[in-house]
Amino acid sequence: MTLMQTIGYPLLNIVFIMLIAVLWAAALTWIERRFLGLWQERYGPNRVGPFGVFQVVADIIKLLMKEDFTPRFGDRVVFVLAPASLVVAVMMTFGILPISPSIGVSNLDIGVLFFLAMSSLTVYSTVLGGWASNNKYALLGGVRGAAQMIAYEVFMGLALMGVVMIAGTFNLRKIVEAQQNLWYVLPQFFGFMVFLIAGIAETKRLPFDLPEGEQELVAGYHVEYSSMKFGLYFLGEYLGVILISALITTLYFGGWHGPLLPGWLWFMLKTLFFMLFFVLLRASLPRPRYDQLTAFGWKAMLPLALLNFLATGAVVLAVLPHGGA
């Protein structure tokens, strides 16, 4: 193998996927504002450039020009590390996404576990950011982030196990390949519902944006953040939305599989569909109290995930040839 093949192509893949992910995250800020507008009987930002697409550029310039304020009363080191850790954890997960048969950074055998591990890490940025700000609203947001993590993390993992059992692997690429004939949304519909809800809670998006809680906690855990540190939280949140949408596509909607169009385009279209669904949820649903979210997670979602888990296990043992091996 030449040097190009061993280092060049993987490096190209990594840079390409990172670039695409960040660009989509930037675009999503505009997409979200436009579609939120449309769903609220208004237009949204439509002035800067064609259809307002350069609003993103204006926003980024504004973010960069802002004063980068680090509170003297807080913990400086943790304050700086917290937003970075969010983006790092989310970006790491992009590495395991199989975007098309040829695009994808790592063909990790424990892909699903890797995602669960990294998604658990993102909550640290919320809690530490809230703690390091030394601000009561930020701390309340951080505590809520931790409470929310306890509410959704368990059934998120359990919901994914249904897919893992049917496919017989943790490898995301093999899971997509196993959906050649049947998307897992059909046999795993309840698993999909549970994972979707957990994913919304995971990305701290409305209606589960309790740590941010704009109406109660000003901006929650990132109330003290400004300039590009806030931008990193923002980027991490939108990357999270893309990531969860991409994972729903990968795990339940057949990844790159689809007629006519090339695989990566199918993947992007499906991902875009779920990104828009996230925006629609934000436009339509009110935020529950944190005890309601916890009760919903433990009393409704966890039993549902467990039932799905048991039923899938029984069917896999009885029907599938690999017998859940």
Partner: protein, 173 residues
């Protein structure tokens, strides 16, 4: 199940994408303003084309933010008029008290609000900026034609609906 109503909400909000938007895209389209809108202040003229303002200072007194400044003077016919008339629109709050105070319908507010400037000095309007050629909201009113004051060309008792003046000494019993 109570979650069904959530699904219904999501669907209902989705259908909003097809609705007509309530946004008025301002520079291209504007809202119709009512004729009594209190916007840019003007000084009107009477039907003969003369200035209506008689420099009585009532508007300047009524103005709660003191944005009106003027100086009274007289022409050769004895008509009063303002030597200068200045409104500082960076102070004006468009309350319309000046219009209410004006005894001659001279000062009027108009349905126009597009008067932004880059320099504050340009917000100060002089008499030539304020005076319009028309009569504004009241087309037939002419103060000197109905007032009892004698000016050149119209003596006492010659105004509309005015009886000739009475010599009070000849009325003595």
């Amino acid at each position: 199940m109570k979650y069904v109503s959530n699904l219904r909400t999501i669907w209902n909000v989705f259908t909003f994408i097809f609705r007509r938007k309530v946004t008025v895209e301002y520079p291209e389209e504007t809202l119709p303003l009512p004729p009594r809108w209190r916007g840019r202040i003007i000084l009107s003229r009477d039907p003969d084309g003369e200035e209506r303002c008689v420099a009585c200072y009532l508007c300047a007194v009524a103005c709660p933010v003191d944005c009106i400044a003027l100086q009274k003077t007289e022409d050769e016919n004895g008509r009063w008029y303002p030597e200068f008339f200045r409104i500082n629109f960076s102070r004006c709050i468009y309350c319309g008290y000046c219009e209410e105070a004006c005894p001659t319908h001279a000062i009027q507010l108009t349905p126009d609000y597009e008067m932004s400037e880059y320099r504050r000095e340009n917000m100060v309007y002089e008499k030539e900026d304020l005076l319009i050629d028309g009569t504004g909201k009241y087309h037939d009113y002419n103060f000197y034609r109905v007032a009892g004051m004698a000016v050149g060309g119209k003596d006492k008792g010659e105004a509309e609906h005015e009886r000739p003046p009475v010599d009070v000494r000849s009325l003595m019993p």
